[in-house]
Amino acid sequence: MNDKTTSVNAVEVRNVYKNYNEVEALQDLSLDFPKGELTSLLGPSGCGKTTLLKIIAGLIPTTSGEVKINGKKVTGPGPDRAFVFQDFALLPWETVIKNVSFGLELRGVAKSEREAIAEKYIVDVGLAGFEHKFPHQLSGGMRQRVGLARALSVDAEVLLMDEPFSAVDEQTRRKFQEDLLNLVKNENKTFLFVTHSIEEAVYLSDQIALLLPRPSRVSEIIRPSGFRHKDVDSIRRDSEYLDIVDRIWDSLRTYVE
């Protein structure tokens, strides 16, 4: 293709097919994820969004097609990507600080250094004081914050988030969405966000990719522009926001009915 030196896209997905035996999960899927932005993968349940995210993470191989991160082909997990899991995936026998520093531990970082880095992110996500608690002593929202801190602490360029807020209550979810908007503004990372909530996708994203049900491919790409600079509190009342939400629901409802 063209030069790899200054790619505007952090992640490029090209003609990806994924079959599980006879079941075609992804069909000829191509998509770009611009650097420094938050792109949502939005679609009904079972439409392959998590499969695509795991392929990008290098956890699942493609049947054919390729994925490139900053121009380099994906062959497995890498230091340039970090994953936030829907079910938190914490180690129940370790404390918060050990969980957050787990990514650094696997990279061979020395104990005092990795705990210092972990401490910074623990404070950033609002869990100061809980360093020596165990996951079973935390609420769902707090556990997800541990997962987020862990992903942030390895300082990867691409953050992959698999329905990270779907397992927490509504109030916590709204707070997390606001926090994530601020995070996207302040961190120079690319965010890939899987969700099945239309409002969440429109609220958070610089770009929304609508995925169709199995076999999955991209049906539409939407770039909300008008309200991205607005204050986190005023977005939900913006008329463009509401229009886009309705438009997406109209597209998707045919697949649910």
Partner: protein, 253 residues
């Protein structure tokens, strides 16, 4: 209450021993001594030193068998859990070992290994290993796929994932297997002494029975049960010490 667990254990002991005493006085059978009669026989055995020489004998196959069962059992269990091929090859051996009646296997053992320490160690292992291997392999295979994936996504090597994720995750069930297996090992040690050649505690049991000294017989049985209980408590302490996060405050202790 701070010492709630300890007081409950004390209370339940008193209840059991009280019931034993009553049953002995009824009497349930002429061959059934009271608790106090058994305890005085135990005291006599201790004073004479008979019980210590007996344990010196019994502990030989017991300790050797338990150590072999624990280390090889967990090692094999890990391998079986991690490798499909090894599982297919090895699991049936242990499933058969667990279900086959020991009384039928003992004559075979005697034929091959004689009537000495080797056969007795084998009996302990046959009793103890299957449940340790099967529990360990089951626990390894049941590790949450989600945290394994998490380990892979953060660049964990296969060795990292086994040591830092699979093993700690499997450890509660491995310890359950150890507790069950080692208890069975104790039974195996006594059985081997009753069925192969009389030595140690097994000898006290069969000899006392043959001369109708039932208090001594029950004293010997009581002592081995007590030893097993103490050992299992020790194992529990070790587990809590090694894996602090595991104790989620569910157990009474």
């Amino acid at each position: 209450m701070r010492y709630r667990a300890l007081s409950l254990k004390f209370l339940s002991s008193i209840l059991i021993f009280g019931a034993w005493e009553v049953a002995g006085r009824v009497p349930v059978s002429f061959a059934f001594p009271t608790f106090l009669e058994s305890m005085s026989a135990l005291w006599a055995l201790t004073i004479e030193g008979t019980i210590f020489t007996a344990y010196a004998e019994t502990l030989k196959p017991l300790v050797i068998g338990v150590l072999i069962s624990a280390f090889f059992g967990i090692g094999l269990g890990l391998w079986v859990g991690l490798s499909q091929k090894f599982d297919w090859f090895v699991s049936p051996i242990f499933i058969v070992m667990q279900s086959a009646p020991l009384a039928a296997l003992i004559p075979l053992l005697i034929m091959v290994y004689g009537i000495g320490l080797t056969s007795k160690v084998f009996v302990v292992c046959i009793m103890a290993m299957p449940v340790i291997v099967l529990n360990t392999s089951g626990a390894v295979r049941n590790t949450s796929a989600s945290i394994i994936e998490m380990g892979q996504s953060f660049l964990g090597t296969r060795k990292d994932i086994i040591l830092k994720i699979i093993l700690p995750s499997a450890s509660p069930i491995i310890f359950v297997g150890l507790r069950l297996g080692i208890s069975a090992g104790f039974i195996g040690a006594i059985l081997s002494e009753l069925k192969i050649t009389p030595t140690g505690i097994g000898d006290i049991i069969s000899y006392s029975r043959s001369i109708a000294d039932y208090p001594s017989m029950y004293a010997a049985i009581f002592s081995i049960i007590l030893l097993a209980v103490l050992f299992l408590n020790l194992l529990e302490r070790i587990e809590i010490m090694v894996f602090k996060g595991i104790n989620k405050g569910l157990v009474a202790d």
